[in-house]
């Protein structure tokens, strides 16, 4: 007997109780006795029992009520219940099974029958004990993993830039991961005195692998941008510079990526001196642009290939003036594809309507409004990472 059995015998017949007790003790069980269901429940409250052998008919609380009470207990380890019954009472067996009885033993009792029933009980209890041990291991592993992921999430959030202004350009972002860590990211950083780079990226999938790739993407995109800006002529076209950054990053991505993941991206370079912005959209939802005084947002971007798919993706750069009072909004598809309680997506039009409403608000207020609207749209955690980046020219 690998599993230690602690049995509670319940019968109002003292001699039957003594007989059962002797038999179970002869198998090495630890045995206690009760004369009815109420007394049995009091003993069970002390914990530690994994087997109950009970008569059905007893005063005060019968065996059926006892088994129902045992099954109604929460957060207790499994108790295997054997009920002593009159033989041939099929209806009684059905009722007893519904009450939570695992097995039956017909009276008159025969040691061979009882031994066979107890062998079955021991098998189940051994499986139960193994399962409980495995669940404990899994719980501990999950708790450790959760702690690690919480830390990773905090680290990932710490990588995102704080709201910042570069001259007359103001940047504000909002990000929420669908699980502990996510595969969306945004960034903005100065490149010398004149240029500011900004982007929003969405790694395919989400979770740990996507989050790790997001961290790598942030490092590599910054490095590529700095290399390109150092190497280009001061009067180089802004669009050419953005394309060079993206192509370098794409080449490096293809050389080093063995995960099968890819990413969509909008990358921009802003020339603060000339008030120009050049954007490259790589398979990402289009950028929304509102000109000064305009209430509507227009779409920039016509669809293209994500990063990490083709060695020569033939991206196009769009260069335009970002006049004071205009606003750019970059977002991940986690926002537009966010499903409501009836499965309806939040959608681009709803986002655009919301952005129009927020046209007079600050970028921070706009981010908060979009976040609030999405949380109102979708109860609970999001199914995909959601990210928003607002660029305001003052």
């Amino acid at each position: 007997m690998a599993q230690q059995v602690r049995a509670l015998l319940v019968d109002d017949d003292p001699l039957l109780l003594a007989l059962l007790s002797a038999f179970l003790a002869s198998r090495g069980y630890e045995v206690e006795e009760a004369s009815d269901g109420e007394q049995a429940l009091q003993r069970l409250a002390g914990g530690g029992f994994n087997l109950v052998v009970t008569d059905r008919h007893m005063p005060r609380m019968d065996g059926l009520a006892l088994c129902r009470a045992i099954r109604a207990r929460k957060d207790e380890s499994y108790v295997y219940c054997i009920m002593l019954t009159a033989s041939g009472d099929e209806q009684a067996l059905q009722v007893a099974m519904e009450a939570g009885v695992d097995d039956f033993l017909a009276k008159p009792l025969r040691p061979a029958d009882l031994g066979a029933r107890l062998n079955a009980a021991e098998r189940v209890l051994a499986l139960e004990a193994g399962l409980a041990a495995r669940n404990q291991e899994l719980s501990e592993a999950y708790a450790k993993l959760s702690r690690d992921l919480d830390l990773a999430r905090a680290l990932q959030r710490a990588q995102l830039p704080a709201p910042q202004s570069f001259g007359k350009l103001q940047f504000e972002g909002w990000f929420e991961a669908s699980s502990f860590v996510g595969g969306d990211l945004y960034d903005y950083f100065p490149l010398g005195d004149r240029l500011v780079a900004f982007y929003l990226a969405d790694i395919s999938g989400h979770g740990v692998a996507a989050a790790m790739m997001a961290v790598a993407a942030q490092h590599q995109l910054r490095a590529a941008a700095q290399q390109v800006v150092r190497s280009i002529a001061p009067d180089a076209e802004l669009g050419d510079a953005v394309l060079e950054i993206l192509n370098r990053y794409n080449t490096r991505f293809l050389e080093t990526n063995e995960t099968g993941l890819y990413l969509t991206l909008v990358f921009g370079l802003a020339d603060r001196a000339r008030g120009l912005v050049a954007l490259v959209e790589a398979g990402h939802p289009p950028v929304l642009h509102a000109a000064p005084g305009a209430s509507e947002f227009t779409v920039i971007g016509e669809g293209s290939v994500p990063v990490g798919i083709l060695p020569d993706p033939q991206w196009q750069a769009r260069t335009f003036t970002l006049a004071p009072g205009s606003r750019l909004v970059l977002h991940s598809d986690g926002i537009t594809d966010c499903a409501g309680h009836d499965g309806t997506f939040f959608g681009e039009q709803r986002l655009r309507d919301l952005l129009v409403q927020q046209r007079g608000s600050s970028p921070a207020q706009t981010c908060a409004a979009v976040g609030g609207a999405l949380h109102g749209w979708h109860a609970g955690s999001f199914e995909d990472d959601v990210t928003l980046l607002v660029v305001e020219a003052r």
């Binding site: 039957l16 007989l19 002869s26 008919h57 009159a86 008159p108 025969r110």
Partner: protein, 133 residues
Amino acid sequence: MQLARALVVPSAPMDPAAPPPSAPSPAPSFQERYAALARDWRAQLPARLEDVQARTAACGQQPGDHHALEELYRQVHMLAGSAGTFGLADVGDRAREMEAGLVRLMALSPRAVADFEGVRRGLEALLAAAPRD
């Protein structure tokens, strides 16, 4: 261990001149314990049958006393459950037949004295099946 408690046997009256107790004897086997319990059960059987007989008579005189009928049922049920276990299968069978008669009787409402006739016959059969020794 519960078994140790169950195996305590009544000791002889204390004798100051008796020698000191020797080492405890080995615990009896299950078969030995079973035989002892069966002897106890058989020794108790006459008293239990007398109790059932008295309760049956009382219930027959007050057929509406459901509580008394339930207690009679419980006593007969215990006999039915244990008799076969302790080697008196015939007593167990008769007790089970009487138990079934009581179940039918308890389902009647109202109950008349005449309704007890089947239970009385069951009791007679039970008494007849009991050993005479």
